[in-house]
Each structure stands twice: as structure tokens, then as C-alpha cells.
């Protein structure tokens, strides 16, 4: 069983800079866990500590039932795919795949069988006798994947493996990796994955669960849908989802959320759920849950500044009492509006309103 556990994991550099602040994370056997966050959030450092490429300053890392803190990378039962592929430039693809097995002193027949098997799964058989410099980016990435796969590790570690590929290839590799994971799981092979990325699309589409990090701390760990619908704090709310969630500052008064000039009535279930009544609050609503409404109906007045036409939908960028807001409208709704600037009236869908404490950042409207 290849469960991965991080307990109070810390990383402090020689200069005294603390990169990772005691994080706890449980990755279940066979789970696809994505670490996501903006650059500098220590997601890669965390992954490299799991791999054994960085020393651990505090806490422990468990793989299965072993504490692996002091084991060299080769003894941890992990395999890693690097952002730059890191193929050995002087070895042919076949030797690149076989390198780890050769170091384990496996027999020639075993190595050959394993290499052929992996090459078949990843469809890189025609490339086996090429050198890395003769491969395209996507091919090189597949070979790098193969080099991890062939070792049958307990835990796979991915360090932004798709960020050097162009958008189209990235999308297809995303699907390929997800399928591969599902297949390994179905065949009962060890398939625990920790996948680092800064791309929220990758995180949302690939992860069983997502761990959002910021400045060496975990902000929220949850399944993609949960993360999207029930962000635990302002950071997650702003980070996950595209276009970004609208965050409007104000306060709560008499059962309504008030901005400087206007107010949004808060419905009863939401009001009852509120954990506290902070002085300063932030209302969060996704652009998809803001509706264009007729000028005379209840809602908020905003000023439309610009429009982005995306095909099946239109992003309306507006200004609400000084705060920028985005509304996603259907093409038809936009047609009905008939202009690209000027005053508009918008109404949030009550059940999708989040209320955050501005100072702590916490989502106080979660059930």
C-alpha cells in the first residue's frame, strides 16, 4: 500500500528563510493529488522534499509505513517526472528507460521485457533507438513518463511536467496521464500521484483532490468540485476558477450586504450559516452566477466598460462602485443588451453567494 503522509513538514533554508511552514497532507493509496499555487508557494520544494532531493528541516514524510526522511531518493520507492524532462542526453531512449533497472541489477531479459512493455503503453516503440535531442517536446515528455513508469514506484511525483509543451499538446498529454493513472489503478498497480502545477486547468481536470498552497502553507485540500463550489478562504476563491470570482468589499447590515452605495439582500439559509458578523466583509460571487437583469428589477447598478467575446459566451467587464466585476453572459443575453458600454443592472444568484471575513480571509458562509 502506498499511502503518502506529510506530518508537520518544514523547510528552512540556510539563509534562515522558511519556505514550508509545517504542512500536513495525507495522500491516499491510488489517489491523484495535485499541488497547485502561484509561483513561490513552495509546491515544488515540497515535492522535492518528498523525492529526497531537498533535505527536510522538520516533521516527517511517510510512504506506506516507512518514514523516509533520511532515505536517499533511490530507496524511497518514488519516481519523478521533471519539467525539463531531464533525459540523459548521451543515452538512447531505450537506455534512458532502462537506467534505473540497470542500477537495480535486473537481468537483461527482465530489462528488455520491461522496456518493451512501457514503450508499448506509451506508444514510443519507434523512438527507442533515438537520442533525446532527436525527440520533439511531446515525445521527450512521454519518454520521461516511461522512465518513471518502468520502475513501478509506490508514488509518482510530477513537477510541472506539461509546462514546456504547447497548449494543444498539453491538453492531449493531460488526458493521456489521467487515463494512464486510471489504468494503473484498474490493474491494481501502485498509482499514488503527487502532481505539481501552477495551471489551475490541469489541477481541476486531473486531480482527485487538489491541495492549494500559498507561501508555504496549505490553504485548502479538497476535490475539484468542492474547491470550486465551496472555497474555504479568499485566496482559494480568487485562485480557482476562470474568469476569477468577483470579490466585492462591504459590510453586513440588517440582513443585507452593503457596498458603499448599494445593497444585496442575503437570504435566510445563508444568514443563518454565517459564523460571525465581521466589521469588514467581502462578498464573493462567480461571474457565471451574476445575471444581467432588466433595469427595473432588483439588483446592483454597474457600469459596463468592455466586453470579451469568447464564442458561446461573453465576458462583460464592469465597474461596481469602484470594484471591478466580471459577468459571464450568454451570447443571446449580450445580443439583447445590444451595447458594449454604459450602465447595466446585475443580480447575484442567492444560493451561490459567499461571504468572507476580510481580515482573516475565511469563508464564513460555509455550512
Amino acid at each position: 500500500m502506498a499511502q503518502l503522509q506529510l506530518n508537520q513538514l518544514e523547510k528552512t533554508y540556510g539563509s534562515g528563510f522558511k519556505a514550508v511552514h509545517g504542512i500536513d497532507l495525507d495522500v491516499q493509496d491510488g489517489e491523484f493529488m495535485v499541488l497547485v499555487g502561484p509561483s513561490g508557494c513552495a509546491k515544488s520544494t515540497t515535492l522535492r522534499m518528498i523525492a529526497g532531493l531537498e533535505d527536510v528541516s522538520g516533521g516527517e514524510i511517510r510512504i506506506g509505513d516507512r518514514v523516509v526522511n533520511d532515505l536517499v531518493p533511490g530507496k524511497r520507492g518514488i519516481a519523478m517526472v521533471f519539467q525539463n524532462y531531464a533525459l540523459y542526453p548521451h543515452m538512447k531512449v531505450r537506455s534512458n528507460l532502462a537506467f534505473g533497472l540497470r542500477l537495480q541489477r535486473q537481468s537483461k531479459e527482465q530489462i528488455r521485457a520491461a522496456t518493451d512493455e512501457v514503450a508499448r503503453i506509451l506508444e514510443i516503440e519507434p523512438l527507442l533507438d533515438r537520442l533525446p535531442k532527436q525527440l520533439s517536446g511531446g515525445q521527450a515528455q512521454r519518454v520521461a513518463l516511461g522512465r518513471a513508469l518502468i520502475k513501478k514506484p509506490e508514488v509518482f511525483l510530477f513537477d510541472e511536467p506539461l509546462s514546456n509543451l504547447d497548449a494543444k499538446l498539453r491538453a492531449s498529454m493531460r488526458v493521456r496521464i489521467t487515463e494512464l493513472h486510471r489504468r494503473l489503478k484498474a490493474e491494481g498497480m501502485s498509482s499514488t500521484v503527487v502532481y505539481v502545477t501552477h495551471d489551475q486547468t490541469e489541477a481541476m481536470t486531473m486531480g482527485d483532490r487538489i491541495c492549494v498552497m500559498k507561501e508555504g502553507r496549505i490553504m485548502q485540500v479538497a476535490a475539484p468540485k468542492e474547491l470550486y463550489n465551496r472555497p474555504a478562504n479568499l485566496f482559494v476563491a480568487g485562485f480557482i476558477g476562470s474568469p476569477e470570482m468577483n470579490l466585492i468589499g462591504g459590510r453586513i447590515e440588517n440582513g443585507a450586504f452593503r457596498t458603499e452605495g448599494q445593497s444585496v439582500p442575503l437570504m435566510e439559509p445563508l444568514l443563518r450559516r454565517l459564523k460571525s458578523r465581521p466589521e469588514a466583509a467581502v462578498l464573493g460571487i462567480r461571474p457565471q452566477h451574476l445575471k444581467l437583469v432588466a433595469p427595473e428589477s432588483e439588483g446592483l447598478d454597474a457600469r459596463l466598460n468592455s466586453v470579451e467575446f469568447m464564442g458561446h459566451e461573453v465576458y462583460l467587464h464592469a465597474d461596481l462602485d469602484g470594484a471591478p466585476v466580471t459577468v459571464v453572459a450568454t451570447a443571446a443575453e449580450y445580443e439583447a443588451l445590444g451595447r458594449a458600454t454604459g450602465p447595466i443592472r446585475i443580480a447575484p444568484e442567492a444560493e451561490w453567494i459567499h461571504v468572507f471575513d476580510r481580515d482573516s480571509g475565511e469563508n464564513i458562509s460555509l455550512a
Binding site: A51, G52, L53, V72, P73, G74, K75, I78, A79, M80, F82, N84, Y85, A86, L87, Y88, P89, H90, F99, G100, L103, Q104, L131, P132, K133, Q134, G137, A140, R147, K151, N164
Partner: protein
Amino acid sequence: MSQIDNIEDTFAVAAAARSDAEITRRRQRRAQAVSAAIRYAVLGAVGLVMLYPLIWLVGASFKTNGEIFANPGFLPKEPTLSGYVEGWQTSTPYTFGRFFWNSFLIILPKTIGTAISCTLVAYGFARFDFPFKKILFGSVIAILLLPNVVTRIPQYILFRDLGWLDSFLPLWVPSALAGDAFFVFMLVQFLRAIPTDMEEAARVDGANSWQTLLFIVVPMLAPALISVCLFQFMWTMNDFLGPLIYISSVDKYPVSLALKLSIDTTEAFEWNRILAMSVLTITPALVVFFMAQKYFIEGISAGGVKG
């Protein structure tokens, strides 16, 4: 009528413009050809000036002793191999082959030792953290800046006390223990330019530091290592002072000393023999250089990493 004239005029103007363009193009092409010719002429002349002593050396080694000073050209009037035949015999009981063999006995352990020891030291400096690393690397650089002459006397006393005088040991042992700071520095700089990703991948694949060095780092370091060996080979082949200080018996002379020997022992110098042996002496260095030239330039690290 005037309209027709106009049309004809227009055609004439267009044709003139076309031929103008044609002329300009032809002129440009001619200017390019002329400039290329001048460029190659100048380059060829400078190259010839640089190479002439070497060409003259090769030519003169086939001349008779009398002709060397009589004929300034490099083509011998009566080509003869006598310089080679007699020069090879030398005025000592040994042939020149013996001296080549002595050179080889110094160069081989020195070059191999340099490559191995400098790689180890450079790998250590470039990839590991250890106590006093900065001070130690600083002292490597300091040694690099130190004139060789300064250490000659202490070294001589040291090797005398070790009983190594009149042997090849003082000539190659220091270098085989990474004594040449220049090569260490060169390899450290080369290693710093290679991304560490491949080495990390090897560690994840289960390689220890030695296996990483041997299977991953050394192959990527190959172009630099070839340069190191090439330099060490040529410098050792040309080294005169070292053997002069430490070697006293003629049977242990390397070629650099042996060449001097033929100048010392005869009253009237047999210049054609000296020149013939000089040609033989530079031949190995030239052959090795042209064989290794390709690797000298080729960078093997390209292609493994995309950034």
C-alpha cells in the same frame, strides 16, 4: 496622337527602370564578388605568414645541411631523408625512439591522472556543499594565479627528500593528483553550466554519487575532458623545464630534452637532423589535435534539457 506618345513613353520609362534595376543588381553582385576575393586574399596571406615557419620547417628537414642556409625557399632542391635517418640515430647510444617512449611514459599517466583527478575535484566543488568549501575553492584560484617558478625550489627539495630525482614521478604525480588548478577551474566552470536535472533524475533512478558521476556527469563532461587531455598532452610534450630540472640520465630524456641534446654535443650543428627530429616531435601533437578537434567543439549536453 499625344496619348500614344505618352503610352510609348511610359513603356520606355518602365523598360529603363527595369534595366536600371538589372544593372544595380549586377553591380551589387560584382561588388560582393570583389569584396569576397579581397577578403580571401587577405586571409590567405595572413594565414600563409603564420604557417610559413612550419612549412619551412617541414621543407628544410628534407634539405641537406648545406642547402638550409643557401636556399631561402621551402622546397628542397635535392630532397634527402638523411636528416631523418641520422637524426633518429642521435649522438647517444639510444635512438630517438627511446626518447619518444620516455615522453610517452610521462604523458600517459599524467594525462589519464589529470582527467580522473580533476573530474573528481571539480565534481566535488560544483555539486556538493562541505565545510570550508569557499576557502578551499579560493585557494584553488589562488594557485591558478601563482607563477609556477615560485614553487620550483620547494618542490625540488620535496621530491629530492622523497628520493624521486632522476625519475618520471615528479613530472606526472602532482598533475595526476589534480595539481593543475587550471584544469580544475575549467571543469568546475563547465559543470556549473550543465543543469543539475539529469543528475537529480539519476538519483531518483537510484544512482549514488559515484554512479551519477560515472554514468551521467562524465559523458556530459566529455567535450571538456577531451580539451583537458589535449592541453595536458601538448603542454607535457612541450615541457622543457620540468625534465631539465628533474631528469639527469640521458636514457630517461623525453623528446624535448633530446632535441636540445643534439645541439649540445656536436660542434658544428647538424641543422637538418635537428629540424627533422623537430618535425617528428610536433607530429603526435598535430595528429592528436586533428583527431580530437570534432569533440573539442561538439557540445553533448544540448538536447537533453529544454528550458
